[in-house]
């Protein structure tokens, strides 16, 4: 879901940077130094997990997992995703310096939104938890794709068809992410429920 360098207009790039910086500042404020290893190691796991290619039809997609990032880290998703994207740029040259802000926004904002929308559902009855976690995974990808589309359309109205195509091509990814998130949350609830938001003994 990266936007490459050299595509977006100055206004979109700068708005992305300012908003991403604000989100990251809030996120960093919420992580004190004792939690940094925790955020860093989870960020590393998301980075590794996003390299997994899941088969879908004749092709395969790689996972984005920003829904689970949001669930586990809340506002911490901003710095975690910023760092993961920086590493992606450094190691694989996906994305770059100018698009770092926009790309962080398109992944981290849906993550934080999903944390607020669905975070409280994961400890409820099984059916509600299952629905909540599926929605969390699917919605975070959908919203991300919509934001990428908007960034393109704000750059140039004629990008509308490209954006539409991008959003449509993310629909299957959305379903897969929803399923994976639902299974993953079910697993975490059994194994380590304290990792999920709103857990009380």
């Amino acid at each position: 879901m990266h936007i490459s360098e050299g595509v977006l207009s100055g206004q979109v790039l700068f708005s992305g940077m300012v908003l991403a910086a604000a989100g990251t500042a809030i996120g960093l404020k919420r992580i004190d130094y004792d939690r940094i290893p925790h955020t860093a190691i989870l960020s590393a796991s998301f980075f590794v997990a996003s390299l997994i290619h899941v088969p879908i039809g004749p092709s395969s997609v790689h996972l984005i997992l920003n829904g689970i990032v949001g669930l586990l880290l809340g506002w911490g998703a901003f710095p975690a995703i910023l760092v993961a994207l920086t590493l992606q740029a450094l190691l694989f040259q996906f994305g770059g310096i100018t698009t770092l802000g926009v790309n962080t926004m398109t992944m981290a904002l849906p993550a934080v939104l999903c944390y607020y929308l669905f975070g409280s559902m994961v400890h409820k009855r099984n059916s509600i938890a299952l629905f909540g976690s599926f929605a969390c995974g699917a919605f975070s990808v959908f919203l991300g794709a919509i934001m990428v589309g908007l960034a393109l359309v704000f750059t140039e109205e004629n990008f509308f068809q490209v954006s539409t195509l991008l959003v449509i091509s993310h629909l299957p990814v959305m379903v897969i992410e929803g399923i994976i998130t639902a299974f993953c949350v079910t697993f975490l609830k059994k194994v380590q429920p304290a990792m999920l938001p709103g857990f009380h003994e």
């Binding site: 490459s4 050299g6 997990a49 390299l51 997992l65 590493l87 770059g96 310096i97």
Partner: protein
């Protein structure tokens, strides 16, 4: 496997002060991202190629990276010429291919690749650990640098953990396919990765506290800004100002 294949070289560019490389890569990326005229873009592309040449990188490796990153660009080429409103150049059956669409796709392609090659020449030739220290020296907030370095450090550990889990699954006869079983297996695998990561984070934090960690990350690396750096910054400033002049004075 994840590795920094281009960072181990011995060219002049590899040895430059990373602070200088970060600053110039940032300025250049923004200038080119905001440029809109073909003369500037072609000049920029030439400059990027020159730097790739000077960095003496393995060209095959560079090419492989460039091809991978051009996926979105390909989408633009497929869609834009057909959908962009403008003067039709020729017809593909019922569809008009517009001049503006092709020009814009070309512009985006050149911009994107010029920035990408410059980034590869300057930034990919520096190890991430060194970049972290340089960012620290450039007064990027300490917490984010700390987070970056720790994440980088543990990416490789977590990757091995993932490799171990996937090996275990394969030994038990797991084969990825289009079915619920595959999705469930991957989801549990990711869940296990996260559980292990949390436990590891706890241990790492305890180990850090045991060694006297007080919430500050010290950077012991000293960088020197000496003669080669001065020459390089002069040359690159001239090149970048030149590009700016071509773009905004509308020369050529």
């Amino acid at each position: 496997m994840i590795h920094e294949s281009l960072a181990n070289g011995h060219s002049q560019i590899h040895r430059l002060d990373p602070r200088l490389k970060i600053i110039f890569a940032t300025v250049y990326s923004f200038i080119i991202a905001l440029s809109d005229r073909f003369p500037t873009l072609f000049a920029a592309l030439a400059l990027s190629f020159l730097l790739i040449g000077l960095a003496r990188l393995n060209l095959q490796e560079v090419l492989r990276k460039v091809v991978l990153v051009n996926g979105l660009i390909l989408l633009f080429w497929v869609v834009l010429p057909l959908t962009f409103t403008g003067e039709p150049l020729f017809y593909l059956g019922p569809l008009a291919v517009t001049r503006e669409g092709i020009l814009l796709s070309a512009k985006i392609t050149i911009k994107s690749n010029a920035i990408l090659l410059f980034f590869i020449a300057l930034i990919a030739t520096t190890s991430i650990a060194t970049l972290g220290y340089a960012l620290n020296r450039l007064r990027i907030p300490e917490k984010i640098v700390h987070l970056l370095l720790l994440t980088y450090r543990y990416t490789f550990v977590i990757e091995q953990e993932y490799a171990r889990l996937i090996r275990a699954a394969k030994i038990r006869g797991f084969r990825a396919g289009n079915n619920m079983h595959t999705y469930r297996t991957y989801a549990y695998l990711i869940g296990m990765l996260l559980v292990k990561a949390t436990a590891r984070a706890e241990r790492v934090h305890q180990a850090m506290v045991c060694r006297g960690f007080k919430g500050k990350f010290y950077c012991l690396h000293e960088f020197s800004f000496s003669r080669p750096e001065k020459i390089w910054s002069a040359l690159m400033s001239i090149a970048i100002i030149g590009l700016g002049i071509v773009e905004w004075m509308e020369i050529a």
